[in-house]
Amino acid sequence: MRFYKVKALFKLGMEDLLKNLNVFIYVILPIAFAFLYANMGSAPKEYLFSVCTLLTLSMVPVALMGTIIAEEKEKNTLRTLMLNDVKASEILFAKAMICMLFVVIDNLLIYFILKLPMDHFILYQLVSFITGLAVILFGAFVGLLAKNQMSAGLLSMPFMIIFMAPMFIMMFKDKLAEAISSLLPTDAMMKIFESITKNTLTISKIGIPCIVIIAWLVISICLFQFAYKKVGVDN
């Protein structure tokens, strides 16, 4: 991987994204929800942080990543890049960097908007960042499959619903649904957040959630590699 190319792609990708409100809405929406939640209701701030982070992780690494790759295909810039001696891995890495940067920015802003105590600040950010890494390749997977922005939006929808599921399942208190939900990386993240809040960071409490997140990271890498070999970047 040539980092001067990744740097150029990252710079351009950031500029382009900031001028594209249709897609930038994915970044703004979780922050807007944080503002809304901060000024209404009496739910614990830690819970609200979990919900907003869940929203960020469903929207930014999945929908945003998928859409910006699909747009490059739709506008033929992806082909132009690849014909200009840019490797697919360099393009994907730059896109992933952009999305992960916005995951961090969103989570930081949400943290400060909800005025959470600074005691566990780094832990919260670290866990949400690692979970973001575990789901970002699903966004890349969507980008590989989609031919244009519209189909990327459509394809990312099931992934967004799956990753947001813990938020709804929590309300129903159905055991089977909870068992299925516990296999999701976002559910694992929420459980780790809960342990951080309650100061119960023990292996017995966070061991399984950590395994779940790592398993998703491995599965997503395998799935992505499979899709990459089958479909290629510019199908």
């Binding site: 351009l12 506008k75 014909l83």
Partner: protein, 273 residues
């Protein structure tokens, strides 16, 4: 003697049962503009895709004597970042190839886009976009430039500007592989041309050679009153025709050479569209 920049030998490719290229053999010399001519669907773009490693041939071999970063490509579906300005797009491609950004100004002036450098790409006309894409393809001073129908659907003024630019590039040492179905363009620009029909090369040579090879055996005499007399290309027949109309003023006498489109039509029975 010039070295070969591209060499292909019995290059073939099939998609399913359809043979798109059938054992085509040609070479492209350094610093020449090589025209690859044929109607739509003849296999021109497929050839470029093989030469630029986007497709693998089913059989035969091809060698391109330029490294990946020494090649520039303008394909029929190249694209630019529409929300960004002309200048920013070109700076980006300069950064990608580690080219000095100072060169951006020079190249934008060459493609006559310097005055429009602050315009967003989405606000450019089709001709301006095509010039920008050409600038992106040549920002890194490529040794070899692949141009897939660079002037298709452009207005005559823009086409002329692109032609001038291509001739300057050739003069500066760039080898150009040009696909087109515009015969006038090929005649004007190309040092050598190959006619491609249904995946096969049916003729190859300089435009002059081909015109002489397929020249009609006749001479046309045009008089001031607009009358045209066509006679056989032999001295006696010409003198006889002149004597017959000796009172008229001659406007021109010229041998009848076919143009490239006519040669293609006579070889394949197909028009270049």
């Amino acid at each position: 003697m010039k070295n070969n920049m591209i060499e292909t030998k019995k290059l073939s490719i099939s998609f399913g049962h359809k043979k798109v290229l059938n054992e085509i053999t040609f070479d492209v010399k350094e610093h020449e503009i090589f025209g690859f001519l044929g109607p739509s669907g003849a296999g021109k773009t497929t050839t470029i895709k093989i030469l630029t490693e986007q497709l693998k041939p089913t059989a035969g071999s091809c060698e391109v004597h330029a490294k990946r970063h020494e090649i520039g490509i303008l394909s029929d579906n190249s694209g630019a970042y529409e929300r960004l300005t002309v200048y920013r797009n070109l700076c980006f491609f300069a950064e990608l190839s580690k080219t000095d950004v100072k060169y951006v100004e020079e190249i934008l002036k060459q493609v006559k886009l310097w005055d429009d450098r602050d315009k967003k790409v989405e606000n450019l006309s089709k001709g301006m976009k095509q010039r920008l894409l050409l600038a992106c393809a040549m920002i890194h001073h490529p040794k070899l430039l692949f141009l897939d129908e660079p002037t298709a659907a452009l207005d005559p003024a823009t086409t002329e500007e692109i032609h001038k630019l291509l001739l300057t590039l050739r003069k500066n040492g760039t080898t150009i592989f040009l696909t087109t179905h515009n015969m006038e363009e090929a005649d004007l620009l190309c040092d050598r041309v190959a006619f491609l029909n249904k995946g096969e090369i049916v003729e190859l040579g300089t435009p002059r050679e081909l015109k002489l090879k397929y020249a009609h055996d006749s001479v046309s005499i045009i008089y001031d009153d607009g009358k045209e007399v066509v006679v056989k290309k032999d001295a006696q027949a010409i003198i006889k025709a002149l004597q017959k109309n000796e009172k008229k003023t001659i406007q021109s006498i010229h041998s009848q050479e076919p143009n490239l489109a006519e040669i293609f039509l006579s070889l394949t029975g197909r028009e270049l569209k």
